[in-house]
Amino acid sequence: MDFGPYLLLASLEGAVMAAVLALTAVGLSVVFGVMRVVNVAHGEFFMLGAVLAWWVASWAVGHPAIGFVLALILAPILVGLIASAADMVVLKRVEYDPERTIVATIGLLYIIQQVTLMTFGPEARPVQPPFNQRLSLPWFEFGENGFELVWPWGLGTTSYKLFVIAAAIVILLGVWALMSRTKLGLYMRATQLDRQMAQAFGINVERVYVSVFGFGAGLAALGAVLIVPIQQAHYLMGGDPLLLSFIVVIIGGLGSLFGTVVAAVLIGMSDGVISMFFSPTLAKILSTLLVAFILIFRPQGLFGKRAA
Amino acid sequence: MASVTLLSTKGLSRSFGGIRAVENVDFELPEGQIRALIGPNGAGKSTFVGLLCGRIAASSGSVRFMDRDISHLPAHRRIALGMAYTFQITSVFARLSLYENVALAARRSIGSDRASVDREVASALERVGLTERTDQPAEDLSYGHQRLLEIAMGIAQHPKLLILDEPTQGLADSEIRQFNALVRELNAEATILLIEHNMDVVMEIADAITVLNFGEVLAEGPPEEIRQNRAVQAAYLGTG
């Protein structure tokens, strides 16, 4: 394939990746923004979403689309409930102390991951996509006949991948509407600005925290359900999303939703593109170092505002 | 006798996001004086001493200490030159013993020789009257006693300049009398700059007073003169 079509293909793969990453990272970002804690178990909630999606889909009968739709609804809710329970049993008890929360969520990470290993097993398991038409994509060329469209071999995508991108955009718009247009969103923003003040105005901060923690985990699970027909469910699949979400949230500016989405697109696209041309390991080394140095020299992120 | 200037500032300013907390202050403190720094709430007193000892970076202007420009030295280097600073909101090492609190202050200048540290700690704690509580953790002390511990930590550093930020806040009347005597005693060794709200204390022990208002020096002079000063009365009482 020539360079041009190759780049288009890489960008498409990157866009799918960016879509899922945006959902996962926004989940992490909302939790950090409102509760000021870093949830190290976030990647495991992602993994749990994929595993539960497989579980729901394998119980459903009939057309694969039925199982998929059920999974899309049930898996995030179940994961959200599990996360809320963890919030009430553990995080609330350590009073959301930032450092103790990290240690506790590291513990949760191992518990979730290892319990999944005990029950789900070490195999990778696929979920059938609800639809999966292969779509060839055109490319243009200046040939003897002037400008013309060609259909290079190998340049194509699937309807499902386009669906993932579209679904992610719809969900993100939904999150935005929830944050800016609903009472719950108002409570969340108030708590984010000033916890004591929110409490003084009669907002049940404890309940906001429980919902936010569950909501953040649910978003990660939603991203996982979308990706699981492309990438199989596996008990160790939470590591990469965690690392990438970290990178995205830090580059986008801790707690800034808009910055997070922009950074997710940037990282997702460039990761897809870079790893087609460079060694993926080198790309990862560079991106982890980038995050470390952004935190050191520009802790408000690339898009965040410096605190006064 | 011509007095030697221990500390001076020229055009010292600091603003926080457009608000000028300290504005163009020229200040001179002769060696051996007890100087009180007074002014209404928000006049920039704490910011000003913060600029002196380097807790807060100046926006512009310079600080000289013992004939040396210290404007660009970090806080710990300034302290090491012979300043000591006691915090307005008590800031002792709560979970460490009184002994260890004072020993930490003493060791920096006299080294880790055990016998001399012991002697130093004992003498500093005795001067503030906390000898019996040497081995208790600092968090067990009452607020007033924690303030005295702060002062003991200041004493143990043997500073040339001792900066006390509202030292009598929270002290009982009897403790204040004790405190006044202590400051006079310390004055034999150290120059003292004290931020103080309690005007009785100021009038009784200060050799000179500097009044800050809206970050600027409003007046400066001996206590009697300041008491008579119209502008100072206006700033405090809101009458003209």
């Binding site: 870093v38 553990v90 008890r93 350590v94 930032p98 450092e99 103790r100 990290i102 240690v103 506790a104 590291i106 513990g107 949760l108 990470l109 191992y110 518990i111 979730i112 991951q113 290892q114 319990v115 290993l117 005990m118 070490p122 690392l243 970290f246 830090i250 390991t281 080198l282 990862k284 080394i285 982890t288 170092l289 995050v291 470390a292 935190l295 050191i296 020299f297 802790p299 | 000892c53 807790r55 806080a75 710990h76 280097r77 302290i79 090491a80 600073y85 915090f87 800031s91 090492f93 709560a94 979970r95 460490l96 930490l104 202050a105 060791r107 920096r108 080294g111 880790s112 930590m153 550093q157």
Partner: protein, 314 residues
């Protein structure tokens, strides 16, 4: 007895017990104890930073593996003797901890945790990336014929036990000395109230940096010795898991006590050993212990003993 004398007696007592143990325990536990003693050095190194300065690093695997790979690569590719290889390993960790400290200490709190995590992750990936030298994920074995120091065969269980014991004893006494020194007391002062320590005229950054270097170098020494005594150098030791383990050992044993890290390592080692007999998902134990510790015993075992019974415990 003065507190210092009491604590010295306690720690010498522990060391004496370990000498006796070499002659009485079964070969299985004997081998375990050798490993535990070296890993405890890692934990002690971690505790210098976490327990005494209050800085929580999530990247100490970087220093452990720097020591291990410094040692292993020097033997494998430069053909140096075992003792010189250990020196290379320790020196690598020393340099790396100085560099990491100099950059990471510009941050505090959660940012410090994430920066150390990221730098360690970059180190792990670098080991994979330079697979031509490091043999990547597989790692490499150090052949038994090279594992000798001054004619002593380190593959012999008894020699190995005493080598591990020697390193632990040196490290334990060194830390004991450190925490009683005025430098160590300033570290505690920084942990308790950083701003106050600065306003007593202490150079906080310099103290923290030296603490990172001591902590990283001790961890590196543990890595180098571990690789040499047990004959294997592998990328697993550079993963996040090996940054979490010393945190776990120290939390369990008691942060800010000299004896805590050893106790924590001992307990956790046997806990994991026991549960790996029951399930392949043995790391679930680590998770449960971490959560329970943060909930119920943030002071750890030795920390609780110190709080309730022996306040002089250093």
């Amino acid at each position: 007895m003065r507190p210092e004398a009491k604590s010295l007696a306690l720690h010498l007592g522990l060391l004496a017990l370990l000498v006796i143990a070499q002659f009485v325990v079964s070969p299985f536990h004997h081998g375990n104890l050798s490993r535990i003693m070296v890993l405890a050095v890692f934990a002690i190194g971690y505790n210098v930073l976490f327990g005494y300065v209050g800085l929580l690093s999530l990247g100490h695997a970087l220093f452990f593996s720097a020591g291990m790979y410094g040692m292993g690569l020097a033997m494998q590719h430069l053909g140096v003797s075992a003792l010189a290889a250990i020196a290379v390993g320790v020196f690598s960790a020393f340099v790396l901890s100085a560099v990491v400290g100099a950059v990471a200490l510009r941050t505090t709190g959660v940012a410090f945790m994430i920066v150390t995590l990221m730098l360690a992750q970059a180190g792990y990936l670098a080991i994979l990336y330079f697979g031509a030298y490091t043999r990547g994920d597989e790692g490499f074995v150090i052949q038994p014929e090279f594992r000798t120091i001054a004619g002593l065969d380190l593959t012999d269980p008894t020699v190995r036990y005493f080598a591990a014991f020697f390193v632990l004893a040196a490290c334990l006494l060194l830390t004991l000395r450190l925490v009683h020194s005025s430098f160590g007391r300033v570290l505690v002062a920084i942990r308790e109230n950083e701003e106050r320590a600065r306003m007593l005229g202490y150079d906080v950054f310099r103290h923290k940096l030296i603490a990172v270097i001591i902590s990283g170098t001790l961890s590196g020494a543990a890595g180098a010795v571990y690789g040499l005594l047990f004959g294997y150098v592998g990328a697993t030791f550079a993963t996040v898991q090996y940054s979490i383990l010393p945190l776990l050992w120290v939390l369990l044993g008691g942060a800010g006590t000299v004896i805590g890290p050893f106790i924590g390592t001992l307990f956790m080692f046997y806990l994991i050993d026991f549960s790996s007999g029951l399930t392949s998902a043995y790391m679930v134990v680590a998770g449960v212990v971490l959560v329970l510790l943060t909930l119920f015993a943030p002071q750890g075992l030795a920390g609780e003993v110190k709080r309730r019974l022996l306040p002089w415990l250093p």
